[in-house]
Symmetry: D2
Subunit: 335 residues, 4 copies
């Protein structure tokens, strides 16, 4: 279950304080020239410390490719890659060897496996998404060569809708204030896929929105997914939701896009548009009631360096998962 996709498949690995994180991409079309600088740029977007809004930990996130590429060209064989875990301060986590952090995966991993790597969240850490971003960067490049772009952006932070630079400044201020009062914030990310042909998505259980929802809900801290008018459409009337068709230069188009580019589970050629909700960062720098793996009640206060809001760093992860999903759908549809 660490594999994502059908034809374009990504299998990830890695604990946050283990040797490395990374993965294997299987099903990448052969003969494609990789832009390694573009991959590094994506990694930099996800990296902690990449903006004043995010944690100050430094992770160089240098990718080493192990197979599947020769002279920069994909061979059609599996592309394996790894990113060493270099900057791990495991001692920060000693207090957590036996106590479960509330709202984290600590207890559920213990319940499921009877064992867990308590250092930095182990496999459940956001560190794992580094592999997704690297794989997604390759998918994104290939899609771009086919005229398909994938672009995500912060849509709201702590309840502030972000539609302008000014809104973003207000959101940054809200993050600073939350940090000051030792609290954290949630938010939403919006993603738009442009240039995708009609015909992506496989009825009935492989509807494009089902593939995208599964991809997005697999991201840490994601709590909701909606596409097109989403939850707002549930409070609306049919007459407000109708995307009438017309012909534009010989192409079928819709005058509006309440559908979010997907009808009957299949893309219709309009922009594919969806939103993902993220909860506030679970790690609160204050004492919280909890229990231990020997069934005793205790209190835990987590130190370490942590983000206040996951949204800025989630943006490239949303793009990566969207790119892998769309490329997989493209190959499934044999387009």
């Amino acid at each position: 279950m660490n594999t994502f996709g059908n034809i374009f498949r990504f299998t990830g690995f890695g604990e946050s304080h283990g040797e490395a994180v990374g993965g294997i991409i299987d099903g990448m079309p052969a003969g494609f020239r990789i832009d390694f600088d573009a991959i590094d740029a994506e990694m930099e977007r996800r990296r902690p410390g990449s903006s004043p809004l995010v944690t100050t930990r430094k992770e160089p996130d240098k990718i080493r490719f192990l197979s599947g590429i020769r002279d920069g060209i994909t061979l059609g064989t599996p592309i394996a890659f790894m990113i060493e875990n270099t900057n791990v301060r495991s001692s920060d986590y000693d207090i957590l060897e036996h106590a479960f952090r509330p709202n984290h995966a600590d207890y559920t991993y213990f319940a499921k496996y009877g064992i867990r790597d308590h250092r930095g969240g182990g496999r459940a850490s956001a560190r794992e998404t580094a592999g997704r971003v690297a794989a997604g960067a390759i998918a994104k490049q290939y899609l771009a060569s086919r005229g398909i772009t994938v672009t995500a952006r912060p849509a709201s932070i702590g309840g502030i809708e972000i539609r302008s630079e000014r809104d973003m400044e207000r959101a940054e201020e809200a993050i600073r204030e939350a940090r000051a009062r030792r609290d954290t914030l949630g938010g939403t990310v919006e993603c738009i896929v442009s240039g995708a042909p009609a015909g992506l998505g496989e009825p009935v259980f492989g509807k494009l929105q089902a593939m995208l929802a599964s991809a997005m809900m697999s991201i840490n801290a994601a709590k909701g997914f909606e596409y097109g008018d989403g939850f707002a459409s549930a409070a609306s009337e049919g007459s407000e939701q109708t995307d009438e068709f017309y012909i534009d230069n010989g192409h079928v188009r819709t005058r509006t896009n309440h559908s979010g580019g997907i009808q009957g589970g299949i893309s219709n050629g309009e922009d594919i548009r969806f939103r993902v909700a993220f909860k506030p960062i679970a790690t609160l720098p204050r004492p919280l009631d909890t229990v231990t793996d020997t069934m005793e009640e205790t209190t835990v206060e987590v130190g370490g360096r942590h983000d206040i809001c996951v949204v800025p760093r989630a943006v490239p992860v949303v793009e990566a998962m969207a790119a892998m999903t769309i490329l997989d759908a493209l190959l499934l549809a044999r387009l």
Copy 2:
């Protein structure tokens, strides 16, 4: 892609105006006694005409089981079943042989396959969900034998939140009004899974919320999915979202359940709680602009008998998909 699940797998078939709909359940545990009356009761809940709120078409939805069960006991072999399509008035759809209905799957199926069954929506019709409800009814029975219940309910209709009988009366009135002005309504369904053990869900891409989101977004007209505090959590602060642990009679419990029973993608033993948003019914009884399969602009007005709001009939479909997902997760976890 007409198969759902990993260990408990359902493969569906059927167009709304073809011979029959139905499916094959693979992976059902052997030796389980089926309650056929309970299946019929679920089918009745989904049936058009089962309440004054829904369309008046009559579909007997009589299930014929073809394999996998002997003397009422499951054999561990595939359970195939079919429901004949008896009450089909295909002539209602003659106008749609060449014109695409807006907001339906007509155009996208044509774009994908170059052919479509225009009668009643074909494979994209809600008729297809009859098979899901039958399969889900079997999953639900098995879960009940393990102490796990799956219960969905209308949570809102046309913007009216439903928390009481009175709210439901207001919602019914809203449906009648919408029908009168030839419009349709959206709404949301809430589902709660109680009694599920800790340990369901498979990191990283098989997180329980990813499995549930994929299941729900595969339902016709679904536009959004959220679990726990969902989109509301995106506008909240971490201190409002913390589910602190305590020991209750030797069991690990959380004092609150903002998490919706899932942490790190794995169930924690609390109620699993999620919501699905449905758009208003796409079929509007009024003339709409559209195009034909020969790329000409035209106007279409769809007759036939149609629902105003999908929510009442969606409730058993949500339960069915949830039951199949939870049973699959249970078997995957070898619990």
Copy 3:
């Protein structure tokens, strides 16, 4: 695990003495005109009583298609079909309600499921292959439209290699003799796929020979698979096995075909050639030592009408499985 294939997928169902056998084909390309007479002809080849060499039971094997086809054209949606079980004499099997027939699946199904349908072998009966032949017939038609033919033939029966009509007569005589002395015979089937393009098969675990071997070894009574020079190559020298390349009218060809049309797991454009070994029919009309489901030793003698040698009826099943495998590989390779 009742599903075969990746893109072209067949999910089968049915016990020999249940209501029906059949299945669902998912992934069949849309817009293909089905030749129903050709399907019936394939069913007739597999049917008991179709030759003096096989059992005299009559199974009409009338196929009813339930979905996925309209006016004889495939829709791209799942094709479900069923074949009623009409000629079942379950009383023949009363003796087997508690005793396990040696060399059958009786004991292992009981060990696995704790329950079994003892009538006629249940799910483990060769009756199940009727569904495969129907699905394979559709795959075969589609391949033929692409210039690919799949042809199997009896290669040996009871140790007699069959290279001529005369050999076949000797084999028929051997079958009559075996019947007379209440014994049964094994044999082999050879299959040749002609016209397949180079490029079928997916390294590493999806090698074309691995896909074919899995398909063939899933047939009842199959005990071995080999392709190209197979087991004979294991006793040979490299200099006897070399298929040198040359250019023929601008195409790469090999002068010999020891490789059986597959190199490195991928088809090379030459004939794909393989053999399947079948054991003698397990049902011997004589008393045999066995045990019951209550752990008592007993003796069993099976009545009923049974074949002497599986080879004649296995030929269309081998073709069906080969056709489904090659079509799946063709779609996987996006050719």
Copy 4:
């Protein structure tokens, strides 16, 4: 298609002259203590140069584990590992940049991907099996802890059946002679799985012999698979093949084991026994006719250091694939 298995899944990567080979094991049960020395011992068995019979290239095959294990204990998370490619003499292969070696994957990879890594066979090289042996060694250890052993041995080399030490000496002599006359030899490997419980294997398409056949035919140079009496049974009579049941200390046993431990696709508790045929090594040190990727005829003579017979090094690979298959079947059966 570089992934093997259902619950216990291995995804491999690596070209022979790339950076590294390795893979990711997903689905390994948590809490199991790994014996790293035992893994190294398996790697040593597969290593070139490990016996006078095999090539003299030295590959240290030092495994580096990247995730999924902490303090020697499995975490239940993916186990990634890599083996650096250190001893690569790519210049040996310059002659092959454009010419296809007969009987290798050179032409078919080119036909499929339009690109290939010609150095040492690239992804199609036997080097790839190093990853399988490492993953299989872990599966083998886990099976051993459950009382299940997997043991393969050379069964024939160049037509010499190996039943004793003396036979092995004759086989070694045959290899030396073949080397002297610049030829190569084929052979067979027999494998026995002891201690496996009844109930492994999933009808219909997941029959245990189908899983094993797929696993074995995915190994380089494998040309055939048979289980139990295999191809010999095809030339035999039913009365010679009957495994009668009896009760032994409360357990169901068979007096003989022509079935090879599998009946109806499901293990019956007896030894699981099968054979794999391997063709002679394809690399012949003599000039051979071939063609180039620009469609010209030419002659090629491959230098480098190569084995004469694949059988000695194939033995641990057969064991590794068998161990992974049996463990997967065990987990699928929830045993």
